[in-house]
Subunit: 226 residues, 2 copies
């Protein structure tokens, strides 16, 4: 390493980064937000938003900052996923990446061109491009975690607007679980948990019967249920 480097330690330190898997549902498919890399290594490949931890910055703050800087997305639900530290995962230097996953509803999605002019785009999880580093592993682990959390938390509501219909909610579950669910049983189950209530208003989109809309009783809080 060049001797002009300024920050010195008496034993080697790895670099620490955060990377974020931002999920949303687009066109009936679970999708993740990726950035096309403009520089080597892995130039031209797609990668998760993320970057180096500032020395006085909390891990979660770093993840949020990188997500905002690189994609313009903020205010989403964010949770730590796993820490990847294979010594060879980045060819440049030793990099330990603390990864997060985030959930966003379509409302909040305003990914803009990043400050370093890289491309950002959504990809359906079953049609991912070639990914940089170990980011494909990270995405699969995040997906697995998200799906398993569906079963015992209220995490699904983080992918819906404040007010939603039961059909929309069921659709989130069906897309994530990748299986169809019985409408009556689904509604019975959700309502029995007492976590949502009617807004009193109706969704009047489409040329069919309007649907009651609901909202979460304890919003912006992911709880363990049952």
């Amino acid at each position: 390493m060049p001797s002009t480097h300024r920050h010195c330690y008496d034993y080697p330190h790895p670099a620490v980064t955060t990377d974020v898997v931002l999920f949303t549902i687009r066109q009936d498919a679970l999708s993740v937000l990726l950035i096309q890399r403009g520089n080597p290594p892995c130039q031209g490949m797609w990668a998760l938003p993320g970057g180096f931890l500032n020395i006085d910055e909390d891990l979660e703050a770093c993840a949020k900052r990188e997500l905002l800087e690189e994609t313009g997305v903020e205010g989403v639900y964010l949770e730590q996923l796993y820490t990847f530290g294979d010594p060879k995962r980045d060819p440049r230097e030793r990099v330990v990446s603390v990864t997060f996953y985030a959930l966003s509803q379509s409302d909040h999605l305003t990914p803009k061109a990043s400050s370093d002019a890289a491309l950002t785009a959504w990809f359906a999880i079953n049609q991912l491009p070639e990914l940089a580093f170990d980011h494909a592993d990270i995405i699969q682990l995040a997906r697995k975690r998200l799906v398993s959390k569906l079963g015992y938390t209220t995490i699904a509501f983080q992918m819906l607007p404040k007010s939603f219909t039961l059909s929309q909610l069921q659709s989130v579950y069906e897309i994530l679980l990748n299986e169809g669910l019985d409408k009556r049983n689904f509604r019975k189950g959700i309502l029995a948990r007492n976590i949502i209530k009617e807004t009193g208003e109706y969704s009047r989109i489409g040329n069919h019967r309007p649907a009651k809309t609901y909202r979460v009783i304890n919003p912006s809080q992911v709880e363990i249920i049952k």
Copy 2:
């Protein structure tokens, strides 16, 4: 920092450590292995085994190495828990700690005096001493994770010898869950899962009827069940 430091970077790097919460059951209590700190900061307080990541070392390898070096324990089940990165969690420098939890049966427990002559000792989880840094938080998170994994994995078997009785197994569950369980229902439930089988041998300890011993069908593999 002293200018004699040798490893230099063009932006500051945090230190990365691993810390391990090693659980076992001793005297009918869930217990963790701790080391008394010989040096500041937190001199005299108790801490988790752990230490700095070598620059070419995998995270899990680091956790295993530190556990072996500091406590003499090896061959235990180990799993990543969470990464703690509060900028103020260590007063000396910025330290990001990737934490693990480990499970050991009494058989494997041979904690020896560490190489740097610190004291190691087991503490019941309800009688912990004053702990260094944020190690109390780490232990509580590990306990929570372990208990919740009881419900949907075969993790409990990692706390028992290869061959065990159903009463011993039930005891592990009772201690971790902190509640008594019905013997008949417990046995019915475990056997219905088809994860253990009789060894054909009997445990003949104590002045009472011998107990059939069992072992895990798929040993040294923690599986998700149901």
